[in-house]
Symmetry: D2
Subunit: 345 residues, 4 copies
């Protein structure tokens, strides 16, 4: 931690900062510069002290600002865990060599719809079936999902087609319920900083897809992962799904694909990409899926629907089943170009 003093800071103000740091048993080092003095802390700062100390120092007279040398997350960091984490669910390894595709409808609407989608996922080489049972909708008047009935259908379809399953959990008290039916839990973008939910999932030790919030910085996202990891659950899969856009005229969000190599550099956790929610328009989904794999993503989470024109949720961004088939063929070529297998079976 480095404390930059104002140019005109008085010697007593500088000394007070040094004394405050020493009070906590840390070693302060004075760095007189041309115009300003900076004070460095040359000791390990215990994680629970970090934020409090930053704020204390920032509130002291003569202090201009405090900047960090270490990152606030530890368990999520590659610095202390250089080997990449592979999350394995029902024989599907996410974060390993293979590129893994999860696909399915935004919302589970009926057995027929879900099974038709699941058959296509299986046929074209997807490994995981996605489908929402509890839907977070911006408007209280929109379709909110089938709830437990949806979960049951998802479990059935997963078993029928030998696919692992993933679905969203929105409330900390539903973690056990959803875990009874689905293989992988999903935390939606709006819940990325729902700490009771993250804590409950941490305690459950279930694999979890943690979506990035639309205005979350990468450090905030990794700190959300840290909430899960710090409860003893190592099975975190990060999912980039778009950040707040300049406008919503053409896409719903701006897919931040540079987050893929950045997270790969900073963290050992697997990272996948959801191009469907980011684009909000089926027309751009194939291009962004290919780009995601080229950028180094470990997999995709794609929305498909047997009949998007009748979807109850996110029809505009869902691929038809034949478009999904073409996409899977194209993705195999890209995966191969970046040296990763993507087996048909």
């Amino acid at each position: 931690m480095i404390v930059a003093m104002n140019a005109g800071a008085a010697p007593e103000e500088i000394q007070a900062v040094i004394d405050k740091i020493s009070e906590f048993g840390l070693r302060a080092v004075d760095l007189p510069g041309g115009e300003r003095t900076a004070i460095g802390i040359a000791s390990a700062i215990p994680p629970e002290l970090r934020q409090t100390l930053t704020e204390l120092l920032e509130s002291m007279p003569g202090v201009d600002r405090v900047s960090q040398v270490s990152r606030a997350y530890k368990l999520a960091s590659r610095e202390f865990h250089p080997v990449s984490t592979v999350v394995t669910v029902k024989g599907v390894a996410i974060g390993g060599e293979e590129v893994v595709v999860a696909a399915g409808p935004c919302a589970i609407e009926s057995r027929e719809q879900l099974f038709e989608a699941a058959a296509a996922v299986r046929l074209h080489g997807g490994k995981i079936l996605r489908g929402g049972a509890f839907k977070p909708r911006t408007s209280p008047y929109s379709f909110q999902g089938l709830g437990v009935d949806g979960l049951k259908l998802l479990k059935e379809a997963g078993e029928a087609f030998s696919l692992a399953t993933v679905t969203e959990v929105m409330d900390s008290h539903d973690v056990d319920l959803v875990s009874a039916y689905a293989d992988i839990l999903q935390v939606g973008a709006r819940n990325m900083q729902n700490y009771p939910l993250l804590t409950a999932i941490g305690d459950s030790c279930r694999p979890v897809v943690l979506k990035r919030g639309p205005s979350a910085t990468i450090d905030e996202w990794l700190l959300a992962a840290e909430y899960v990891l710090s409860r003893g659950n190592p099975n975190v899969i990060l999912c980039e799904r778009g950040v707040h856009p300049l406008d919503r005229e053409h896409t719903r969000y701006t897919l931040d694909l540079s987050a893929v190599p950045v997270v790969k550099h900073l963290s050992h956790l697997p990272v996948i990409v959801d191009p469907s929610h980011a684009c909000g328009n089926w027309r751009y989904v194939a291009a962004m899926s290919k780009a995601a794999i080229a950028a180094g993503a470990d997999g995709l989470l794609v929305e498909i629907h047997p009949d998007p024109g009748r979807a109850l949720c996110d029809g505009a961004q869902s691929l038809k089943l034949d478009s999904f088939e073409s996409l899977m063929q194209e993705l195999r070529l890209i995966a191969s170009a970046v040296g990763r297998p993507m087996p048909r079976e």
Copy 2:
């Protein structure tokens, strides 16, 4: 709802859109323009159909985009509720003539700290005591609040100084617990789209301060209010607390004060402002508090601390008690300049 077709849309594509609209029992009107055809829906669209229909139409061939004529919220809208809502709690009217100040520490740390702050709130004319017992912290290693012990202290302090109280609730299952101790619930910015929480608060009929999420548009914020209102709870107080900033070099968020007159125009709900979280720096809190009242806000939510240099949370943005005293005097002048009373008692 208006459907803009592509310039090259085929007559069959245009007809298919008209037919789809008719399928839902709505009347479609053709608007041939210079280059494109637009199709308007000249009927009332049931609210539960709105989002689905938008997405269905957007997924049809030849459609460029769909734009809305009506707003998605109804109960929050001033169009259907022209009279301003006043939320009254223990004799304190929020959204009426008077400007109301809520103040207190970010986190409740001890009886001594809270009571000292509460005494200052009372003495200088604040009406509501704020204090966090459950704290949503970006890092799992930061102080997470005193929990129920904090709630008990808050209730005691509120009674001792005849102040209404407000505190954050983070989990839908804590609504009853928090309601047992505090007069007003608070939904934090990160939970603005936590729908189980909003629904539970809607069912409780408790007054609620609903903070705007840092990347929430005003329409998304009003739709979050709609979740509460649609469960029969009319006691919603909106709170602007800053949106995602260009950088975080000087302030934590960008306080969007234009949201105040915009919300006043669109909605009948009271709107208050939290300058402390937005600024993240005590130095700018007074200026932004005055600006908020000048912009038409119904009140403020301000962080104060008897000793910011020892605060466990957000020390850098908390006002000292004597700065709070000066601020209250300055605010009275501004309130008076915009024609609103702000009584000392």
Copy 3:
């Protein structure tokens, strides 16, 4: 400047950074922390070296990132120039005690329109007449301004009503031309980083209103001011006019009023606010004007029009002349509440 090394940085990598710093004649100080080593530079860094050195160090193996202790601007900084700058033009002092209002039409359309607006500015206590002759328009098909004919009308109107005048200059080669007619030059938001233009204005020594670019951070804005100041022109007036918004549904930009106290803290330069372009809607202009003065702005730049329904540019955001009259009365009350005179004459 502080160089944070990676946790796993090799001793040779740390040494190489220290050596590189020494190569430039600067003193490097080693700060071993718990997990990482940081290296501080404990000497004055010449301004022309700063950016290059930062980039060199960032490109070295083992380096995580480089953070700054000093600010990149010097002449704009209050640290080295504690007394507030007052820019005086034709007897109007901007940045002094008085709150100063500049008003007028977005674009000069005709003598009649400009003179009618100028008469209202004068009558209601405005000191400066604004009006665009060269208009930067997003579309090449929109009205581009009257050019030199507009400048002539502006000069005439300023003289007729004893008002100082301000108008935009878009091209470095027009600085002399515009200076021949107007008292104050204006750099529009889109040109904030047009360095040839800033340099030409710096050389001219003319007073200049420097608008903040919609995605410019405060440091970038002050560096743009530094371009003008470093050519020997001290007459820079900063103008906040809104930053990129979350959406454009209700306002065109998000007026960042916290920029006012932040800039007042960081810099000695006067700062005014343009609420009209930020709001893009006359309905919100009065509220944001009052808020700007309450936040500590030295003045306003407001668009008014005798007949907004016939304006060739920005009609939707222009105040009618009678609304301007009411606004000026309200502003006087706010100015007085923050202890600043705003004389009628």
Copy 4:
């Protein structure tokens, strides 16, 4: 154009809007909905009238907002120009089948540096040499480029290695000068809305790389292209280079790769990507280069330097020559996976 009236709009207000539309010789169609009336314009609106009319209507009583059916750009639009434009410079076709790579140093520093880079570009299959002679720098104290001496070196190097050349022009009055030395002009992100510059380039008919401004929406970018096209210059190459990021902790900007398929859908113009400025860190450049080609970009603009540790500008984001060699090999695989040739010669 669609005018949405307020829910409580009076019949006279509705009629006034209809009358105003008719005044301009356009046909207004009344669309009574459930709660609001909308008024559509069922005629072609002349381009020069569009913005003015929008603003006039928005300023009328009872009007809630005005939304557009047609896009504001025509010449840039694929609707009226379905065939993709190919810009050909010295035998290099940009926007055709082949993927084209432009590479070179950020700033031209010396003959040796430039020639070494140019040799690598040629050797590894790049077609265009980039290099800055006039550098727009955020700080006035940073290296500003070699100016005309740099232009001369660029021309010489282009000829020596049979490469087309591209370099930035910052001032409308330098268009002829820069055109005398370089094959392709470049408009930097900060100048995207410098209309005198765009107009001068439009008149010159020189090929131009038009970078997207960091807060420019796609429609604003295409309108900037329209400025050039409307002067009769069809040789516009769009370049995505990153939009304003959530923070600058890990990348300088957020590379918006979805802009590639969106622009390909909306426009016939070629689109290339600059991953170097967006990332600001060499470590992420290769991943984003591959992603750009996978997303459908027609080419890349990449910064390389023989010795990034001694670069005077943007060393941190420049690839070493051997990294560039590897990247070119990887790109060839990606190009082939998306069915595009990228010949070595």
